[in-house]
Amino acid sequence: MIILRLALHSLRNRRITALLTIFSITLSVIMLLGVEKIRTGTKASFLNTIAGTDLIVGARAGDVQLLLYSVFRIGAATANITWKTVEDIKVRPEVKWVVPIALGDSHHGFRVMGTSSDYFDHYRFRRNQSLEFSSGKRFDDLFEAVVGHKVAQQLGYKVGSEIVVAHGSGRVSFGANHDDKPFNVSGILKPTGTPVDQTVHLKMEAIAAIHVGWENGSAPRGDDIKSAKLVRQLDLNPQSATALYVGLKSRMMTFSFQRWVNTYQPEAISAILPGVAFGQLWNILGNVEVALLAISAMVVFTAFLGMVISVLGSLNERRREMAILRSVGAGPTQVFGLLLSEAAILVLAGICNGVLANFGILYFGRAVIENFTGLSLNLELITISEAKLMAGIFVGGMVAAIVPAIRAYKLSLSDGLTIRT
């Protein structure tokens, strides 16, 4: 008890060094906790990019590739699925709903995706959250489009804005535009933190409409050009889809249905479980997060190093203090304890400040972070895994503090009562 009181008094006496040490530990804890929060938040948000969809069906390809193009709109499908296959899947007894998507076109670098109106019902992200509109509504007319939050933000779109879709997926479309058939923005989605934010959604039929006359792969000429008005009268039922989001009646059927898809004879298609594919993808990306965490750990280490250096540096001038303590009956073990208690106070104060500061940042910055990145962070003072991390930091700090404490122990043993200056 007396040791703890002495430690407090002694720290108060050297308050500038003590406060700076606490400050540096606080900063490192804020950084470590921040990285940990973002890491777990990103992971949760990433793994929850798509929820409620039991299977994704596409042309036969690797799981990760199928996931990349169907959910993240990265890369391209090896082939499309014919509408005959889509119909076959729709009538399967296991299947509750099917949402087709068609990719391939772009708009100022944002992907254009054709889909059905059901998409807005069935697409779920972040533990069963549905898509919501910040303004406007779903597409209704053939030439209406729903844009993601980021599309609207970056291109300054409002409900009613006119947009032109470019053929192909490049940022620069080499003049191959579907400018003969402009679209009107019917709705803008709220931010989700998923690729939906960067997508222009059209009706499945609209994709067919803008490609009328493009059957041979290049822009139509002469008689092949059909006006927007004329196109409306054509049969625009989709002929193919890039991928399908499938919901099943029961989770129990997942594997049998997957087997059925993978052995489907008329066409080479495969079905993936989004969760499993996300796990595979995260294993690749997750290393970056571990590296970030490692860097933060090094920052904490540096803070401790600073503490050790400052304590070691002060030891010489504290030899007199140790001799006084020994003269009133303190043993070298108690001198050791004094130094360790001082470090414990510094580290604990740093950890507490760090946790509180982090909570404060989260409390006030959460909305801003969510608005800008779509990353939703839970407002918690400390999670169990973070508490474990903090316990680890405390132990680390104590281990670091043993170095000067041992030095003090040895000094007080050899100095005894001899006061040196």
Binding site: L6, R12, R326, V328, G331, T333, G416, T418, I419
Partner: protein, 239 residues
Amino acid sequence: MASNNGSALSIEDMCFRFSKESQAFAIKIDSLQIEKGARVALVGPSGSGKSTLLGLICGVLTPHSGTINILGNRLEQMSSRQRDKFRAETLGVIFQQFNLLPYLSVLDNVVLALEFSNKHNFSTAEKNEKAKRLLMALGLHGESLLQQQASQLAVGQQQRVAAARAFVGNPPLIIADEPTSALDADRQSEFLDLLFAQQEQNGTTLLMVTHDRRVAGRFDRALSLLDICDISGSPGISS
């Protein structure tokens, strides 16, 4: 215990070496007896081994042979932990200067002497009361002075606080290491008066090292360190 009934301190055939090498600093004492309740001055120039001797008596150093007996307790037979505890309960120590922990108040510096032993099992209020009474007796009073940081006091006041700390636990033996050398002549004599008054009141044995013959003259007995100790090698090597 029975054999040393009359002695506060008794050292016999004691030898201490800093290291096992033959040239290293060593100190030998054939016999040193200090009777209970006596005021004894140890006089010697610096380098005469006084720090080492005090370290041995206070139990932070251990002799390689012989005995150090304080009030019937054989120091050399105790573990270092026992010696620390023994020091807390039996000895009061006053240094030449810088006796106080700069970050504690005057009062807390005195109370500190009661914190490291089980013998002084008083409540905080009792401890403070004891400390205040002693400080008063040594001419230090006023709540503001008691709460002042020790580092802000004048040297003379610091030494009196140190004396109060040495006496507060009523230890039977007080060891003082040139406590007056930093004071001017008037203050020296005043300090000794206060010291002796407390010593007489408590029946304490007082052992004080000094190089000042005048100061030594005020003691019952003055022993020359050079007569008692047989020193070889230089204490500067490893002390």
